[in-house]
């Protein structure tokens, strides 16, 4: 499956400038409200700073991660929004046996619950660990950020974008990348020199700008090659292998049977030859 011929520049993308994020969690609550997700039971903070809940789950599609540490005697108090990356060539869509995930032309990677058989391969495949499962239900479905697809179709922006007063910008992938690059160029001392999400997993629709180095904040290093290409390299050989193995074994088998048949015919001829004189004897 070639991704080189697909134009992703018009897909909708998020630019999350963590240097502008104040960790207010407006996005987190707006997402819960729009998707009518249950609040999780928490007893104290579950991470650094005021972080909650402990992880994304069937009830939490986006979460602000806090980092509260010191570096060279300076305080670092940083926040960033964990969310589905809406990859250009999503691993989840590629491994789903029934094609329940789809990368829409608008950008969001959406999930068709009706198709899902519940194999959870998407959860294994996603390098960002995004799809979550409804473990609380008897017949669970996969849950993840929908990119507010229903809102986009109506000309609105995603709930989190609408709620955020500072950090999140939304627009075409091209425009968001250009904006990110512009900010990095204009204020080089403010930004770490890498946009996370630009090349990860072959390119996603979420771009993060940070001040602190990515690994300090806890961003996962992810290959820059689109994940489906890893399995496709093997799967595209399937028809060939089938024919090769089948053909080889057929040939072998035919050959061996022929050998057998020839040997048997030889034996038969030999036997017949042995039996010949008998006719004369019986006279």
């Amino acid at each position: 499956m070639s991704t080189k011929t697909i134009d992703y520049s018009k897909n909708k993308a998020f630019l999350i400038d963590t240097t502008k994020c104040t960790g207010c969690r407006g996005c987190q609550v707006a997402c819960k409200q729009w998707n009518q997700l249950k609040a999780e039971q928490t007893t104290f903070f579950s991470g650094e700073g005021y972080q909650n809940p402990p992880a994304m789950s069937e009830y939490t599609f986006t979460r602000i991660k806090f980092r509260d540490y010191q570096k060279d005697g300076q305080n670092e108090f940083a926040f960033y929004k964990e969310m589905c990356m809406h990859c250009n060539d999503p691993a989840c869509a590629s491994v789903c046996p029934v094609g329940a995930f789809k990368k829409t032309k608008e950008g969001p990677v959406i999930y068709d619950a009706q198709r899902c058989i519940g194999c959870r391969f998407c959860m294994i495949a996603c390098p960002f660990g995004i799809p979550k499962y409804e473990w609380s239900k008897a017949f669970p479905l996969v849950r993840k950020c929908t990119g507010c697809y229903s809102r986009i179709k109506e000309g609105l922006e995603p709930a989190c974008v609408t709620a955020c007063p500072t950090a999140i910008s939304y627009g075409s992938r091209d425009a968001m990348l250009k904006e990110a690059e512009r900010r990095m160029k204009e204020k080089p001392e403010r930004y770490y020199k890498k946009i996370y999400g630009k090349e990860e997993a072959g390119g996603t629709c979420i771009f993060y700008l940070t001040h602190q180095p990515l690994d300090e904040l806890g961003f996962k290093p992810v290959t820059s090659r689109a994940l489906p290409s890893y399995t496709w390299d093997a799967l595209r050989l399937v028809p060939g292998i089938f024919l090769t193995v089948g053909g080889t074994l057929s040939a072998l088998s035919w050959f061996n049977h022929r050998k057998e048949r020839v040997r048997r015919e030889e034996e038969q001829r030999q036997q017949n030859a042995d039996q010949q004189p008998t006719e004369g004897d019986q006279q």
Partner: protein
């Protein structure tokens, strides 16, 4: 006597071991029921960090290669024409058929929406390794079923189907081998997508090839074990001569596998190999006990012929395979900071029940169906005999009559 009475009396006569298997199977069935009543979240220890657990690692990823004897032996006997091993084919087919059927059972339990399992037949995503595997497994199970139908038809004397099946046997064997190659390797393809998750000790682009090769030598080893066991416990003849042939094949396959594995791990993997001591240890045990030791063992003729060593060697190979599959699907996927997954009681009871079901049904099928015959005497010899089972025997009565 009513049918129920018949059955109960029959069962009462079973050996204690079989009765125990029945109990385990019943418990497994009960546990499965609980899974459906209460849901996966409550009955298993699966969670968002470990969406795949014991059922996938054992009942699918491990059980499939364990049932690989059928296609391996089929190919060896009928394509490579090592006719000597023919008596081992049927038991291998039963093992395969039972194995794959139980894989389907395990899958149905693990799926979150099993009632939608048929969707794979309707919604096709050809880019998905799982689509490939499910199609292949469904096809192969059908093939195995058809192969298994032969002894069934023989038992009940269904002539016409037997004829068709006999005629199909060759294509089925070839199809079986081809399909099995695909899905055995695709189970490895599954994990190619876990590029940043599976540890470099196992992650490399040749994973599908390695899975296929290990399926082959595992299939052979399972047959060795199964034949030894049925000799010990089901009064079957000692086939260690035949098994010796298999043990001669094993070192070649094990050796090739070892070479490919070492090459792939050393030259084709990305990322540190020695950074996780536990994983390194598992890797070394898997290779050492599962590949190197049996390889060395079976290079020695005396070991190859000794039925105790045959069993030990084969067991080590199978152990190595099980460990390998768990390493790839579970242990190697654990990230450094994650907590460990331990299967719940229900998960374990179900898996044990599935293994018990395999043993139980194998023994019962062996008991009631012509699995172990070397010479199918009660069959109508007028049927086409593509496999030449009746060489010589066909002629014998006529010759005698002629001579009379």
């Amino acid at each position: 006597m009513t049918a129920a009475r018949l059955i109960i009396d029959e069962v009462k006569g079973y050996h204690r071991f079989l009765k125990f298997m029945i109990v385990l199977v019943a418990l497994g069935a009960l546990a499965s029921l609980l899974r459906f009543v209460f849901g996966l979240g409550v009955t298993t220890n699966l969670n968002d960090t470990y969406p795949w657990g014991l059922w996938i690692s054992f009942d699918v990823v491990t059980a499939v290669p364990l049932a690989a004897g059928a296609f391996t032996l089929g190919a060896i006997v009928h394509c490579f024409h090592i006719k000597k091993l023919e008596p081992l084919v049927r038991p291998a087919i039963v093992t395969g058929f039972l194995g794959y059927s139980l894989v389907c059972v395990g899958l149905l339990l693990d799926l979150g929406q099993p009632h939608k399992g048929w969707h794979t037949l309707v919604y096709w995503n050809v880019h998905s390794p799982m689509f490939e595997v499910s199609m292949c497994v469904m096809a192969y199970t059908t093939v195995l079923f058809l192969e298994f139908l032969s002894p069934v038809c023989e038992k009940f004397g269904y002539r016409l189907p037997l004829r068709v099946l006999r005629w199909l046997e060759m294509p089925l064997v070839i199809a079986a081998a081809a399909i099995s190659t695909l899905h055995q390797s695709s189970l490895g393809t599954f994990f190619l997508i876990a590029v940043d998750k599976l540890h470099a000790l196992w992650y490399n682009p040749l994973l599908p090839l390695l899975f296929w090769m290990s399926a082959i030598f595992t299939g052979i080893s399972i047959i060795i074990i199964e034949a030894t066991m049925v000799h010990r416990y089901l009064n079957q003849p000692d086939e260690s001569e035949l098994l010796e042939v298999l043990t001669r094949i094993l070192p070649w396959v094990l050796g090739a596998y070892l070479l490919v594995k070492l090459y792939a791990t050393i030259f084709l993997s990305h990322g540190p190999l020695f950074d996780r001591p536990w994983l390194l240890m598992l890797f070394l045990v898997e290779l050492g006990v599962g590949v190197v030791m049996p390889l060395l063992m079976f290079l020695n003729k005396a070991n190859r012929e000794d039925k105790r060593m045959q069993l030990r060697g084969a067991t080590m190979v199978v152990f190595g395979l099980v460990l390998n599959r768990f390493n790839v699907s579970m242990f190697g996927m654990i990230q450094p900071d994650q907590q460990v997954y331990i299967p719940s009681l229900i998960e374990s009871v179900v898996t044990v029940g599935i293994i018990a079901a395999h043993v139980l049904f194998f023994v019962l099928i062996a008991k009631y169906f012509p699995i172990f015959e070397h010479h199918p005497e009660t069959v109508d010899y007028a049927l086409p005999d593509s496999f030449r089972k009746l060489d010589g025997a066909h002629k014998a009565p006529a010759t005698q009559a002629e001579q009379a």
